[in-house]
């Protein structure tokens, strides 16, 4: 054989990746990322005094 030797890799454990699992994880990650960004923007607005609230 003259081709490059293949590097041995440990077999990955079997994972069930159903359609529902992929859609669920994708949607959850996206919703949480957007919600986190929204909370951070609100917190920064409070910190900077952009949003008025009594007693800052």
């Amino acid at each position: 054989m003259t081709g490059p030797s293949r590097r041995w890799r440990a077999p990955r454990p079997a994972v069930t990746r159903s359609r529902a699992y992929r859609i669920g994880v994708g949607a959850a990650l996206m919703i949480l990322a957007v919600a986190t960004a929204a909370v951070l923007v609100l917190a920064a607005a409070v910190l900077l005094g952009v949003l008025p609230y009594p007693g800052r």
Partner: protein, 250 residues
């Protein structure tokens, strides 16, 4: 006692069990991240216990512990654990730890030297509705337990933003990495739950600052239960496939 005021009693119990499990895992496996998560949970538990206590009686030290642990420190310390877990360079994690430690000591000094207005306290309302000024039903501004413009109130959002970015962001990043590597679905879901629980806390803290003080106790209980479930899922031992199944896969 209202239902809202009863919530911190349940939260304290959940957090106590959660913290014990995290410390037990730390004793078995080591890891600075587990130690910091345990410390952050103890802070969370102290804050929750202070809320429970304050639905019965007033004590200035209990109030100061509530504000220091609940409003300022716990999210940042939990997030610092995640920084230690995920940081590729430990020097970055150690530097951030030193900054957090110095900031925490400063915050503790400020909390314990700020004068309190105990006359504002009532056991009938959650602490989150009393610690700062509130607009009364007839439009009058009622004073809070902490004085208006106190320096300690100005530094609180810094800790919470750091805690939210590191804890929620770290859990989401871990979930994404595990999902892409196709390793263990339970750990993906576990990290998503940890992120959701932490986000519930961060969102409630921000809403309190915007005047929705009643949501905090419920959000704390949701955060405690959801993060606990996430931790259990993320750390559960996955059984190895049976030999027959392994042969079938091959």
């Amino acid at each position: 006692m209202t239902a809202t005021q009863a919530l911190p009693f349940v939260s304290s119990a959940v957090i106590a069990v959660f913290a014990l499990l995290v410390f037990r895992r730390y004793r078995q496996r080591g890891g600075t991240h587990l130690l910091l998560w345990g410390v952050g949970l103890v802070m969370f538990g102290i804050a929750s216990f202070a809320e429970a206590y304050s639905s019965v009686a007033w004590h200035p030290t209990v109030f100061r512990l509530w504000y220091l642990n609940g409003a300022i420190l716990n999210a940042a310390w939990l997030g610092q654990g995640t920084v230690f877990l995920l940081a590729r360079r430990k020097s970055v994690a150690r530097t951030l730890m030193a900054v957090l430690l110095a900031g925490s000591l400063l915050a503790a000094y400020l909390v314990f030297t700020t004068p309190l207005d105990a006359s504002r306290f009532t056991p009938d309302e959650p602490l989150s509705a009393q610690y700062r000024e509130a607009v009364g039903p007839s439009g009058e501004v009622r004073p809070g337990i902490l004085p208006r413009g106190a320096p300690v109130r100005r530094i609180t959002p810094l800790f919470n933003i750091y805690g939210t970015v590191t804890l929620v962001g770290g859990a989401l990043y871990s979930a994404w990495l595990l999902y892409r590597k196709e390793i263990v679905p339970q750990r993906v879901v576990g990290n998503i739950l940890i992120a959701a629980g932490a986000l519930s806390l961060a969102a409630a803290s921000t809403l309190v600052r915007l005047g929705l003080a009643d949501v905090l106790y419920l959000a704390e209980l949701v955060a405690a239960v959801v993060m606990f479930a996430g931790f259990v899922l993320a750390t559960v031992r996955v059984p190895a496939p049976a030999p027959a199944a392994r042969r079938a896969e091959a």
